[in-house]
Each structure stands twice: as structure tokens, then as C-alpha cells.
Amino acid sequence: MASLDRVKVLVLGDSGVGKSSLVHLLCQNQVLGNPSWTVGCSVDVRVHDYKEGTPEEKTFYIELWDVGGSVGGASSVKSTRAVFFNSVNGIILVHDLTNKKSSQNLYRWSLEAVNRDLVPSGVLVTNGDYDREQFADNQIPLLVIGTKLDQIHESKRNEVLTRIAFLAEDFNAEEINLDCTNPRYLAAGSSNAVKLSRFFDKVIEKRYFIRDGNQMPGFPDRKRFGGGVLKNLHYD
């Protein structure tokens, strides 16, 4: 059979938030039975119908790259991680609804992924002083997913959801809140499933159907500082 076109989506977040469970749920429609530590990067593939139900329907492969680790790690780990961040078409930011720090760290994760982290030692100067302009010209579609929804007590739910709504607005992204151990949240036809589908459609559109000056298929999105010249040796 003819091979389909592909897009690459990163799944980023602190360790322990549930990225591996989420990816397993998205790709295999099953709950992950034995979550364990992700070393390096684990990839899974989801088959997605772009513009489902319309005459222009087309099937694509969506590669979900689940990159593990902590955002404040050693510089050697960060340099190695950066090798997975080439030619990214979309980013899913995952955070734990019960852990405020994990949502604050999303800013640093997103900066690391779009390679704005110019200081290679990993010491990030800003700490919560988030500047909206840094994301103004960001072309990569983002999606914010909050996990462990079931562990939030009813009384605190509103407060948490408001805070997350602000976070998603900062990223100019949609937000989904769910529990990775319950496939009901992503059941076909639910609002979450619609948001997810819309996000993937947007990623595919940006990659294949919109041609502006910056974006041409086949080239990496951003050159890397401090290694840009060397990195071009990769792609013959």
C-alpha cells in the first residue's frame, strides 16, 4: 500500500505527569497498564483522518514523540534531548493538574523546544516572567493537556480550571483536561475528541497545505544555535 504522509508532534512535560499514558491512549485507544520511566524518547504513531467526513478526507500518520526528562536537568541531557526537536510540526504540552509546578514548567519546556534557550548551560534566566512576544511569531501549533483530572477534589476544580484557562491563553492554544486511565474522556464525538481532531488538522494544514515564505516542507523549522553549522551535516 502507498505510504502516507507524516507529521511530527512532540509531547513535552515534566516527568511523572502522564505523557506515556497519554500517548498510549491516543495511539492504541487503550489504557497503559504498567507505566514506567521513559528513558530518552519513545515514539508512537496515530493514524489520523484529515478533514474527516468531507470529500477532501485524507489519511496521515501522526508521530507522537514522547521526550522524557526534567526541564532543569543536566546540560548534557538537554543537548542530547535537543536532537529530537528538529523539524517539529506541532507540540502537545502535558501538565499535571494536581501539581502547579508542572504547569509553570511548561513555559520552559516550550522555549526549549522552539530553541529560544540561548544559554547552553541550561540556566534559564526568566523564571515565570513570561514574555508574550516570545510566542508572537511562533508558527508551531500548541495544545495544552492537563492530566489526573480525577484526583482533583470537586471544591478545588473551578479554581484549577480557571488557572489552566489562563495558561492555555498565554500559549494561544486549546486545552484539554482528562484522566489518562479512563478512555471515556476521549470517546468519539466528545468535545475533547473534537478539540484533538481540530489540533491535528491544524498541524497537518500548517505542514502541507499552507505555503508562506518561512515554511517549506522538508526543511527543518529552525537552525540550532551553537551547533547550527554542524547540524546541517545531518540531512544529506
Binding site: 530518552g40 504513531v45 500518520y61 532543569g72 548534557s76 541531557v77 543537548s79 536532537v83 501539581n99 509546578k101
Partner: protein
């Protein structure tokens, strides 16, 4: 009157240490986690504060600061508090947080944590029996009993860490220099890593597509269910599913390979970074050494030994204390990052506080050896009639054992490594 002044000085310094421990906890240890139980942070800072106060008292002893009797009083007080924390509070809270993590025992967690603590106390007590650490004329709950046991554990720990460090340090530096990592090596490894990921992806695409096809076919055939449906599903899917399991096995092997490659790449980056740091440092010496050089050079041969011995011993003890505290904090931080997760962070921090407290108490025991005779008396007075010689011998024995076993361990690990690097 002077006692009041002395006490206020001690209390202010303790508050300062407490603040430092608090900041260290917040900024370094727990910077990626959320502090939900402030008890943990308080306990950690308190342990740190009282441990540092002990060292402060030693320094005051050497310098002759403060009144002698108030020093003695504060020694005793400090020791009591530290023992209280190390033997009663921290183990109890460790048990409490472990039990809280287990969902089944959540209801009666106080009960179970008390049970855990009693078990700990039993083993802690039994620990003292085989060692000749006390003269038999002391009662059960005396300070000497508790300190002796805490001292044994702490000294064993210190010896293990020192032995391992003494062997590991030169080995790592040697291996870093011998390997001589270049940029092209790193690039080649990264390329292999990305190729492996591509292979994994293509296989997973096949699996996903095959599963989707089966699912779509299965939907059509699902309507006739029951006996015939079962037979049909067996014959229809048998060749397909066999293929899938084979591919899945290949994927598992490739994923294992990708993990290995990732770790090797991290290793190479770390080596490169260390080489840079070491080469940058060659020209500079640290300020203490430079200060001593200047002092020796400019003061000439006219050395008033008596005058300087006090200051030198102070400097020496100060250096030992500061470097050991700094080294301990750095090691704790690294260790904590390596093994903690959001669930177990509380337990691990408390374990670290326990280790830190025991380490400091045994440091006091061992530092007695490097102090001149006239300053040893206070420690001997306060800590009672412990057999200090035993501790020194025990330290040496464990140090040797630890160094030898780390040599063996590193040799075995090294034998496996060259095979890994030889595959193209």
C-alpha cells in the same frame, strides 16, 4: 548575664542556619516539585540548622569564644535535640509518608506509622549489641547509648562514601582524558540514534495501519457474532496477528537500542563538558591554597609555632567542615534528582535529612582525631565515655572494604564497556 548574651548569639546563628536550609530546600532540592506538606521542609531545615550548630560549637571551642560553661550547656542541649530529631521525629515521619503513599493503609496511617517506628527502634537498638562501644555502666536511655548507635551508622556511611569517592574520582578523570571525545563522535552517535528512531517509527506505522485495517474489517464482520463469528475471527486474523507480534518484538528490541544510544550520547556530552571544565581550571588555584601560599612566602622562617597552631587548626577544621558540608549538599542534590518522583519526594527528602544528621554527628566524632589535644576535652566531656578508638578503627576498616569493592565494581563495569564501543 554572659550566659544570656551567649545564648542569644547561639540562637541567632541557629536561625540563620535554619533560613539557609529552608532556602536550599526550596531553591535546589524541591525546585521542580510542589511542597504540599510543609512539615517536611521544616524538619529538613531544623536538622540542617542543628547539625551546623554542632560544627559552630567546635569552632567556638577552638577560638575560645563564649563562656566555657555556656558552651558546655549548649553542647548538651544541641546534642539532645539532634538525637531527638534523628531517633524519634524523622523515622516516624518517614514511616508516616511511606504509609500515606500506599492506598490500602490510608485509613489507619497513624497506627501503621507507629508500628513502623517501633520496628525501626527495635533494629536500631539491636544494632548496638555486637559493637564494643560502651562501658557497661550506663543506663538504657542515656545519651551515650543513642549517640553510640547513631555514630556507628554515620561512620559506616561516611566510610562507604569516602571509599567509593576515593576510587571513583581518579578513575573518572582518567577515563575522561583517555577517551578524548570529538564533535564528530557525538554527531555520529546522534545520527545512529535518529536512524533507530526512524526504524521504530516505520515499524509502528505498519502495526498501526494493520490494526486499523483489522478494526475496520472487524466492524463489518462483527454483526454475525457467536459461534460462526468466533471461527471466522480465528481463521481471518491468524496470519495477520502473527505478523504483528513479530514486528512488535522487533520494535521492543529497537526501543531498547534507542535507550542505550540515548544514554551513551548523554555520557559523551557529559565527558566533553567535564574536559572543558577541567582544562579551564588548570591555571587557577582555589583561594584557600593561595592564601596559605602567600602566608608561607611572606612570613618567612620566623614562625611562632604556638601562636599559629591555634589558627592553623581552626583553619584546618574549618576547611574540613565547609568542604564536607558543601560536598554533602551537592551529592544529596544529585542523588535526589536521580531517584525522586512526585510521589516519593517527601520520603526521599526525609531520608536525606536523616542521613545528613547522622553524617554530621559522626563527623563530630571523627573530627576529634584531627583536633589538637587541648580542644578534644569538650567533645570527650559532652559525649561521655565512648570508645573513640573503636570508631576510628571501624572507619578505616569500612573505608578499605568500600574502596576495594568499588575497585572491583569499576573493573567489572569497565570490562563490559569496551565491547559496547567497539561495535561500529
Amino acid at each position: 548575664m554572659s550566659f544570656l548574651i551567649d545564648s542569644s548569639i547561639m540562637v541567632t546563628s541557629q536561625v540563620l542556619f535554619f533560613g539557609f536550609g529552608w532556602l536550599f530546600f526550596m531553591r535546589q532540592l524541591f525546585k521542580d516539585y510542589e511542597v504540599r506538606q510543609y512539615v517536611v521542609q521544616v524538619i529538613f531545615s531544623v536538622t540542617f540548622a542543628f547539625s551546623c550548630t554542632m560544627f559552630e560549637l567546635i569552632i567556638f571551642e577552638i577560638l575560645g569564644v563564649l563562656n566555657s560553661s555556656s558552651r558546655y550547656f549548649h553542647w548538651k542541649l544541641n546534642l539532645c535535640v539532634i538525637l531527638l530529631i534523628l531517633v524519634f521525629m524523622v523515622p516516624f515521619y518517614i514511616g508516616y509518608f511511606i504509609v500515606s503513599n500506599i492506598r490500602l493503609l490510608h485509613r489507619q496511617r497513624l497506627l501503621f506509622s507507629c508500628g513502623l517506628w517501633l520496628t525501626f527502634m527495635y533494629f536500631f537498638w539491636k544494632l548496638g549489641d555486637p559493637f564494643p562501644i560502651l562501658s557497661p555502666k550506663h543506663g538504657i536511655l542515656s545519651i551515650e547509648q543513642l549517640i553510640s548507635r547513631v555514630g556507628v551508622i554515620g561512620v559506616t556511611l561516611m566510610a562507604l562514601l569516602s571509599g567509593f569517592g576515593a576510587v571513583n574520582c581518579p578513575y573518572t578523570y582518567m577515563s575522561y582524558f583517555l577517551r578524548n571525545v570529538t564533535d564528530t563522535d557525538i554527531l555520529a552517535l546522534e545520527r545512529r540514534l535518529l536512524q533507530t528512531m526512524d526504524m521504530i517509527i516505520s515499524k509502528k506505522k505498519r502495526i498501526a495501519m494493520a490494526r486499523r485495517n483489522l478494526f475496520q474489517k472487524g466492524e463489518v464482520n462483527n454483526k454475525p457474532s457467536g459461534f460462526w463469528g468466533m471461527i471466522k475471527s480465528v481463521t481471518a486474523s491468524a496470519p495477520g496477528s502473527e505478523n504483528l507480534t513479530l514486528i512488535q518484538q522487533e520494535v521492543d528490541a529497537l526501543e531498547e537500542l534507542s535507550r542505550q544510544l540515548f544514554l551513551e550520547t548523554v555520557d559523551l556530552y557529559a565527558t566533553k563538558a567535564t574536559i572543558n571544565i577541567v582544562f579551564d581550571r588548570v591555571g587557577k588555584t582555589d583561594p584557600v591554597t593561595r592564601g596559605i601560599e602567600i602566608t608561607v612566602n611572606y612570613l618567612g622562617i620566623q614562625f611562632d609555632v604556638k601562636f599559629w597552631s591555634q589558627h592553623i587548626s581552626f583553619i584546618l577544621v574549618g576547611i574540613i567542615i565547609v568542604t564536607s558540608i558543601r560536598g554533602l549538599l551537592i551529592t544529596l542534590t544529585k542523588f535526589f534528582y536521580a531517584i525522586s518522583s512526585s510521589k516519593s519526594s517527601n520520603v526521599i527528602v526525609l531520608l536525606l535529612a536523616q542521613i545528613m544528621g547522622m553524617y554530621f554527628v559522626s563527623s563530630v566524632l571523627l573530627i576529634r582525631m584531627s583536633m589538637p589535644l587541648e580542644y578534644r576535652t569538650i567533645i570527650t566531656e559532652v559525649l561521655g565515655e565512648l570508645q573513640f578508638n573503636f570508631y576510628h578503627r571501624w572507619f578505616d576498616v569500612i573505608f578499605l572494604v568500600s574502596a576495594l569493592s568499588s575497585i572491583l565494581f569499576l573493573y567489572l563495569a569497565h570490562k563490559q564497556a569496551p565491547e559496547k564501543h567497539m561495535t561500529p
